[in-house]
Every structure is written in structure tokens, then in C-alpha cells.
């Protein structure tokens, strides 16, 4: 095998593919990166039995071929290459990488032992890259990280015609986002539970380009898998098994109080107040007409306190939250103004974003957050 590629293009592709290499490979060959040169393309692949990654880059291929090398080693080498075209060739059981005056050799791994990568399911539709990236970021933040409850570590993707809904929860907060996309077939209906971490990585890495294809199998072949393709890169992930909570029922009907606060000062105040108190001490929010008072520290001795402007419709309310969950929500709504709806101090609050204090809130993104019950 022998080919030439641009240095930056190669380094980029190797770095991205190497991210899907397992840190603790179930078998040694999985630590390898697969290189396939044919036609005018070099394809790089990695796999850990759950997630596969594949990218094709332009290359001058002199001799076609297929080799497997240690992913880690190749990634380290690529990082230290000078800015010149790179020439890669096999020499018996070794691979030579020549770039400018630098020359490296790597041993090859047994390529015949490398498992076949899963096939991409047939594409289901596409969505603008930036929309997808934003949606995933807003939702994945609420996913659980506890492996003993695996179905909570995923993001639920619901496809109903031209509407996609993403939802994630760790049972303390729930984030739901809907957006429009372009399905390949009309009347498509599908559900998938995708590990949040992988979805996050995918959203960040595959959205450089204009649009991203989402591929879900509705039929037998490729069942249990989802594929994403964008910016010349392609990943597949095994779907999670398990029942995702029936989350729509968790949103309260109606609200006894609705408060509106400017996001930026709110965020700053929460940060300041929680800095003074011990980590994860709950922050108590007391809404009254025109005012929001934040206090950290439970019981009678508040350890820090701040006041902000806020407008309130409905009953006054005092309610406490984990500050980290609050801040996650405020940053996810990504809007100048935050609207919070409450019923009682022990029921969930719903947070959404608005462009300004008087505007109507949309349902496009909602962040549900459970309060902390302070000692009574």
C-alpha cells in the first residue's frame, strides 16, 4: 500500500477517528486504526464494538491496500509531523511515514483479525448542522451519568414526520427540545435511545458542514443502531435498551406562579451566592412582586444573599434548587430572558427562554428541574 496526503487533513482525520478508540480494548486489534487506500480516497476507521467512526479523505493512491496500525501511535506521530505532504507506504510488516525530513516506522497489527464494521442504516433524513448541534447540547446536559441506571444515560430521539424531539433526564432535571428536519420519506415514525456522550461527541464533530444525515433502521437490518453522517465523517452507535421514563406526564398542568428574570444577572448572582456556601448547598429563590432574593445555606443562617429584579405573575413562592442544575438550565436556554413556572415548592419548575421580558415563551425548549426540600 502506498499513498500521499496533505498533513493537516490527515492529522485531523486521525485525531477524530482516534477518539472512538477504546481505552480498554476488549481485544488488542480494537486499539488499531484501519487504513484503506483505494481510488482517490484514504478511509480511516475505528471501532469499539459499540461505536464506529469512519472518515474518507482525498489521497493520491499509488498502491491500493488495507492495513491496521496502533491508533495511539499513529495519532502521536501525526501530531508531531512538520507541515509538508505526508507519504505512507508499507514495507513488509512495517509501515513507513515520511513527511519532509521526518521519517517514522510503525509495526502493523493483524488486519485480517479486525472485525467488520457495522453497515450504516439507510438514511432517514437530514437537518442543518448548527441546529442539530445546538439541540443536542441543550438536551444532553440533563442526561444521567450513573451506569447502574443505563437507560437514563441516553438521549431519546423521537421522529414524527418532520418533527424531531430530543429528551434527556437524570431524574433530577429533564430537558426537551423539538426541531424540524427533512425526512427522506413522508410519515416516518421512529424512536431511538442514544448514549448521551456519543451523541455529544458526534454533534460537535460532524457539524462543521452544512447538514447532517441521521440514519435509523426501521427494519431488521441495522436494527438497534443509529448512524450519523456529516462533514465527510460517519459514525454508528449501538442504541441503548431500556424503558425511558414517560416524561411528558411530568410537566405540570398550569402554573401558580410565573416569574421572568434577565438571564445574565441571574446567572452571575447564582454563581456568587453558591461560591460562598459549601459545594452543592442548595440555593433558595424567593419570588415576590418585582423582586427575586437568592440565598445560599439552609436553615435560618443564610450564608449569602442577593437580590435581583424580577417580574412575577401569580402567587409568591420560595423554592430551593441545586445550583449546578439551575446554572445548566440557564445556560441551555441560551436566551436573554429566563421564564420560570412554578406550582408548589416541592413540585418541578419549568424553565424556558425568551428574547425579552414581554415576549411570549415558546415550547421549543423546556427544562424541568426538581427542587430541593429544605429541612422542615
Amino acid at each position: 500500500m502506498k499513498f500521499r496526503v496533505e498533513r493537516d487533513v490527515l492529522a485531523d482525520a486521525v485525531a477524530w477517528t482516534a477518539r472512538s478508540l477504546p481505552a480498554r480494548p476488549a481485544v488488542p486489534v480494537l486499539a488499531g486504526l484501519l487504513l484503506e487506500a483505494d481510488g482517490g480516497t484514504l478511509t480511516l476507521s475505528s471501532f469499539d464494538y459499540e461505536v464506529s467512526a469512519r472518515v474518507g479523505i482525498e489521497a493520491e493512491v499509488e498502491d491500493e491496500g488495507r492495513i491496521l496500525v496502533s491508533g495511539r501511535l499513529l495519532a502521536d506521530i501525526c501530531r508531531s509531523l512538520p507541515n509538508r505532504p505526508v507519504e505512507v507506504s508499507t514495507d513488509g510488516a512495517k509501515v513507513a511515514v515520511v513527511c519532509g525530513s521526518a521519517r517514522f516506522t510503525l509495526p502493523t497489527l493483524p488486519v485480517e483479525d479486525y472485525p467488520a464494521l457495522p453497515e450504516m442504516p439507510t438514511a432517514a433524513g437530514s437537518v442543518a448542522g448548527d441546529v442539530f448541534a445546538a439541540a443536542v447540547a441543550q438536551v444532553a446536559i440533563a442526561a444521567g451519568r450513573d451506569d447502574t441506571l443505563p437507560m437514563l444515560t441516553g438521549v431519546r430521539i423521537e421522529i414524527e414526520g418532520d418533527t424531531v424531539t430530543l429528551a434527556a433526564t437524570d431524574r433530577y432535571r429533564l430537558a426537551v427540545r423539538t426541531f424540524l428536519w427533512k425526512p427522506d420519506q413522508a410519515g416516518l415514525s421512529s424512536i431511538a435511545l442514544v448514549p448521551a456522550k456519543t451523541l455529544n461527541d458526534t454533534a460537535k464533530a460532524l457539524t462543521n458542514g452544512d447538514s447532517i444525515q441521521i440514519a435509523l433502521a426501521g427494519d431488521k437490518l441495522g436494527e438497534g443502531m443509529i448512524g450519523f453522517e456529516g462533514a465527510g465523517r460517519r459514525t454508528t452507535t449501538r442504541l441503548l435498551e431500556g424503558e425511558f421514563p414517560k416524561y411528558r406526564a411530568l410537566f405540570p398542568d398550569g402554573a401558580a406562579s410565573v416569574a421572568t428574570v434577565e438571564t445574565a444577572p441571574f446567572v452571575d448572582a447564582v454563581k456568587r451566592v453558591s461560591l460562598v456556601a459549601e459545594r452543592n448547598t442548595p440555593v433558595r429563590l424567593t419570588f415576590s412582586d418585582g423582586r427575586l432574593v437568592l440565598e445560599a445555606g439552609s436553615g435560618d443562617e443564610a450564608q449569602a444573599s442577593e437580590a435581583l429584579d424580577a417580574s412575577l405573575t401569580g402567587d409568591e413562592i420560595s423554592i430551593a434548587f441545586n445550583p449546578a442544575f439551575l446554572l445548566d438550565g440557564l445556560s441551555a436556554i441560551d436566551s436573554p430572558v429566563a421564564q420560570l413556572s412554578f406550582t408548589t415548592s416541592t413540585k418541578p419548575a419549568v424553565m424556558t427562554g425568551k428574547p425579552d421580558m414581554d415576549a411570549e415563551a415558546t415550547d421549543e425548549y423546556r427544562y424541568l428541574i426538581m427542587p430541593v426540600r429544605l429541612s422542615g
Binding site: 476488549a26 413540585k347 424541568l368
Partner: protein, 442 residues
Amino acid sequence: MTSAAYRPEPERGPVPAPAHGEAGPAPARDGAGPSDDRTAAPVPTVLHVDMDAFYASVEIRRRPELRGRPVVVGSPGPRGVVLSATHDVRAYGVHAGQPVGRARRLCPQASFVAPDHDEYARVSGNVMEYLRTLTPVVEPLSLDEAFLDLSGALRRLGRDPARIGADIRARVADEQGITCSVGVASTKFVAKLAGATVKPDGLRVVRDDEVIAFLHPLPVDRLWGVGERTEAALTRLGLYTVGDIAHTPPATLCRALGQAAGRTLYALAWGRDERPVVPSEPERSIGTEETFPADVDDPDTIRRALLRLSGRTGARLRGAGLAGRTVTVKLRFSDFTTLTRSKTLREATDVGREIYTAACALHAALGLERARLRLVGVRVEHLVPGDRPRQLLLGERETGWAEVERAADAVRDRFGGHALAPASLLPGTPAAPPPRPPRTGR
């Protein structure tokens, strides 16, 4: 794809040792020949510290006029029993568990003293605290007994466990005014036996190459777990000494005594005891346990016991103003092997029902449906103040067991402990069994 080997379960008890060759030293044959061609036997690092006639000793310590006289510590009341007695009294046939009236008749010249449990707990606490300065690996078995594992501490304390044992005896005598006996060996079983042979106020070291010579002549009832029934079964097989057991094929033992007991005894007869010394910090947990009057294998009975114990633990936590994050279940089988399993909850709890749910899950996960149990225990660890702010869960019920149990506490405070109980624990179902009398004297 290929899966890697499984991770071992952290089990204790005489399951035949996993084959990793480092499991305990090989006891050498009797009259050991020169061992230069083998690696030197490892230093025995397990110590068993046992305070002599503990309650009695503590009483004597604070009432010097009793020194040198026979003393019996007995629980008060018409049906009191002997809890502890000085060694000279035992010669009269007095022993722990005996009714006090009988003891008085057997040894009328003894002084009979009522027990002061707070003081015993205090003294015991002091001793354990001192032992913990030597090594963190201290496993108290009761107020007056503890195992130590010195393997991590040898470099600091000097490489001679016998010396360390002697120092412990001297220090405890000096600081607490009571004597203790120390046994040193490489396994818990042999260390405890060694100490027992030199009680009171003695020290005995059994090196690895002496284990067989030490063990085999002993009568079978010295083996841990051999009570009357087992002894009778062994006698029927013509086995009277530990050595006899060692030279009997394990299959024969298993047929006569059951798989687990057979294997355990065989292992013990060859000096094998895989149990590690597990450090515990008693102050850091709240819990309770219960011994069944007869061994139980009915899952409903066991669950009811877990419900009872969980309820009690919850009440004690609430009474102490604490909550805990880790629930531990302890199960002791009819052959005395003991397992514990723990589960850490996402939030600290003081609710009996939540503790019960976790305890049941732990018990069910073991999949031991038909194993016969002798004792069940529930414990909550990683304690934190009970009135901490509580992060609520989506979809959680507003009021639940926490409120029920607090209301029940109030009822019981007013009307007495048995005024209120979960339905499955009502009379008509077997009532809470009385605890067994203690096995060893204090």
C-alpha cells in the same frame, strides 16, 4: 469479540480459595526438614486479642477490694444469667448463660455484681482505639475480642509479631488495668485457637510450619462451627481429632455434613482460612441484627425479618437525627459462613421502607433462595445529619413512607413500642423471635 475474565466477588467465608496461589501459606509437614531450598515462610501477621473474663475484669478494676476474689457478673432480676466470671469461679462449674441462682449454689463465696454496660463499652472503646493506633486493620468481633492484621504495619512496628503481641498485652494491662490473651498466626482461625490455648493472660505464636502439629492433635470441637450436632456426626464417622478430619476424603465429609460444612471443615483441618481481617468502625454505622431460634430458609420469613430490622434501624436513625447512604445486609448461614452485601443509595435515608427495599434487593441478588440462615442483620453506614436538604426526584410521590414512619414514631412514643407495626409483622404471623443466649462468656 472476547470478554475478559470476570471480576471476583468480595466474598468471605470458606468457599474453596480462588486459585491464585498466594492464598495463605502452605502449612509445612510435621518435623519440618531444612527449608533452605524453599523461600522462607512468611511471618504470621494475624493477631487475635481477647480480653480475659472481660466484664468481671472491668468490675474488679474499679473495685479493688474484689481483687483476688471470685467474681461473677450476672444480669439482675429473678431470671438473671451469668454474663462473665473470673477464671477461678469457672472451676466450680459456673459458666456464662447459667441462671444466677444456680451459680450462687455452685460457688456461694463468689461476689455477684450487676453489669454496667456503659462502662464495658467505654473500656472496650479505649482498647479498640489503642489497637487502631497500631494498624487501621482492626476487626472487633465483640466488646472483648478483635482481630488485627499487621501485614501493613510490620515495617513500622518491627518485624516480630510476637513482640508486638507482648507489647499489646503490656499496654492494655498498664492502661486499662485488665489482662488479655493474644494468639498470633497467619489465619484468623489458628490465631484465635492459639490465644484460647493460653488463656488467661497468655501469648502464643503458631508459625506456619507449626500449624499442622498444633492443629491435628486438637479435638474436633475446637474447629470453628463444630457444635454438638456436628461433633456427634464426626464421632459417628470415627473422627475425634482435627488430624482425623484432615485425613478423611473431603467427599466423605461432604456426604456426612453437607457440601459447605464438609469443605469448610476440611479446609480448616489443614489450617486454611481465607477470611481477611476486615476493619470496621462501629461508630460509623447504625444497625441491628437478629438470630433465628431455628435456621430459616423460607424467603417470606427472611423478608419479614428484614422488614423488622429495617424498621428498627430507621427508627434508630431518626432518633439519632441521622440518615445514611449505604445499606448493608449481613447473612449468616447455618454453617456459620457469613456474607455481607452493600448498596449505596443516591441519597441518604432514614426511612425504614427505603432501607427495606435496598435490603431486599441485596438479598435477592444473591440468588440463595434455599440457603438456611441463622442470622440476619441490617446496617446503615456513611451517616450524615438527618435534616439535610433533600434533592427531590421527578415523579416522586409527595408524601410517602417517610411521613408514615415519622407519624408512627410519634404513636409509639406515646403508646409503647408494639402499638404500631406493618401488617405483615402482626401477630398471627410468627412473632419476633427472642434473641439466643450468648455463646461465649464475657
